[in-house]
Amino acid sequence: MSALYPLLIIAVVLGIVLNLAGGLIWVERRLLALWQDRYGPNRVGPFGLGQVVADSVKLFTKEDWIPPFADKPVFVLAPAVVVATSLLAFAVIPFAAGFVIADLSVGILFLLAASSLGVYSVVLAGWSSNNKYALLGGLRATAQMLSYEVFMGLSLMGVVIMAGSFRLGDIVEAQRHMWYVVPQFAGFVMFLIAGVAETRRLPFDLAESESELIAGFHSEYSGMKFGMFFVGEYIGVILISAMLTLCYFGGWLGPVLPGPVWFGLKTMAFICLFILFRAALPRPRFDQLMSWGWKVLLPLALLNLLVTGAAVLLLR
């Protein structure tokens, strides 16, 4: 039984995350429609829920075309990387006390590592497509994700200093009296910005800005390979939302309701925030994005780290 328990958790987590990622396509379209004063997909099934099924059937049956000028092995590998790395990160996420696949002592670092490996998917997709728009999108994505990763990790270190552990379970338990969003508000804001940039969502979707680059790094992709990028993006959104919940909003902690329900509610709220960003904010220019990251957010993250460290030492 004890040997089967991790397998059971893996099955449950995989089932929930993949279905949620698919369902989010519908949630996003409906919410965007709500905020933009229109209906959105509401024809297929109750509330248009069947739209998800119709879309996936369409994606699976579309012609899966590999351009003759592309680098085939890398072209096929790229969409798999984004889904694999973001699913890998869920291995260390505790959904409730003890409900975790691998309770690593370096959990937070593992999360950062998995999300930084996700860069390869866009870089390789852009390069292997052998197309100038795809390459430009890939270059943009690489520069953006590399720059924002730096202070994404640094902003999380404030939480690590306060909790005194890299283990995600310990970080959540340390928030029993106060959520870290209060003492680490600056870190929270920086991590949120970095998280949006890391998932390449609007307003930071310059890697695929359709008005200038067709579709950026995935211009040449069709069928389920394109679907993988699509699903990978939503898994990334779920992952960043789960990290925000764990590190700043007390994870599964909460009154009355059971732990996993609290975790799910908080994560869902952040996912909706991500969609609201998309509905509300315009895209910055690429040079603004880069200079904002290096000249403003990186020094702020370092300052936050310094102040947090000093405060923790003083109050000890």
């Binding site: 690593l104 590592a113 930084s116 390869y120 390789l124 390069w127 390459l135 270059l139």
Partner: protein, 196 residues
């Protein structure tokens, strides 16, 4: 766990060999990433999860991305690999093989003397930190000096080149045009005259 160690070590060795022999630069870099991932697994199995995580974040997640970034920008043609064919001549292999043999002998001597590498004891990140800022603090400081020097050098090399003339007139085109007497052309000026 010993099996995991040997499998990932074998993957690392094979991937590194392929890195050297692969003629497509991006494919070679991909094999190098696989090799780094395998080494990270080795570290993890040997009880050093902190080092394994850093290997993933810094080497696989940042440095190799920069390598691929640069190769992407270079846009080497299809025949770029042919220039590296000299590497496959036996004469070029003599020196490196000799050095590699020395290393192999050293590893063999080390392995035969020591017991199994898997102690099963996990070195926590706290222990790593205490060691780095305790007995090895001089190494950390030297590394930080080196990095600062590199940062300053990169800043100096990457600075926008300012010529003598720019310093005198400023780099604003409108101003420099006014000095040289060229007419100032604004966007859309030609179009409006067409309309008229």
């Amino acid at each position: 766990m010993a099996a995991v160690f040997y499998i990932s070590s074998a993957v690392a060795v094979v991937a590194t060999l392929l890195t050297i022999t692969c003629r497509n630069a991006i494919h070679a870099l991909l094999y190098l990433i696989v090799s780094l991932l395998a080494v990270a697994i080795d570290f993890f199995v040997m009880g050093a999860p902190f080092v394994a995580a850093l290997e993933l974040i810094i080497y696989a997640g940042a440095i190799m991305v920069l390598f691929i970034f640069v190769v992407m920008m270079l846009n080497m043609g299809e025949h770029a690999g042919e220039t590296a064919l000299d590497v496959f001549k036996p004469r070029a292999w003599a020196g490196p093989s000799l050095l590699a043999l020395v290393l192999l002998a050293e590893i063999a001597a080390l392995v035969s003397r020591q017991s199994a590498p898997l102690s099963g004891v996990e070195i926590s990140s706290k222990q790593v930190g205490v060691a780095l800022f305790g007995p090895y603090v001089i190494g950390v400081e030297l590394a930080s000096l080196l990095l600062t020097a590199g940062l300053l050098g990169a800043y100096h090399l990457g600075r926008k080149a300012v010529t003598r003339e720019d310093e005198v007139h400023g780099i604003d085109t409108r101003q420099s045009r006014a000095v040289t007497g060229d007419p100032v052309v604004s966007a859309g000026a030609g179009r409006s005259s067409h309309a008229a």
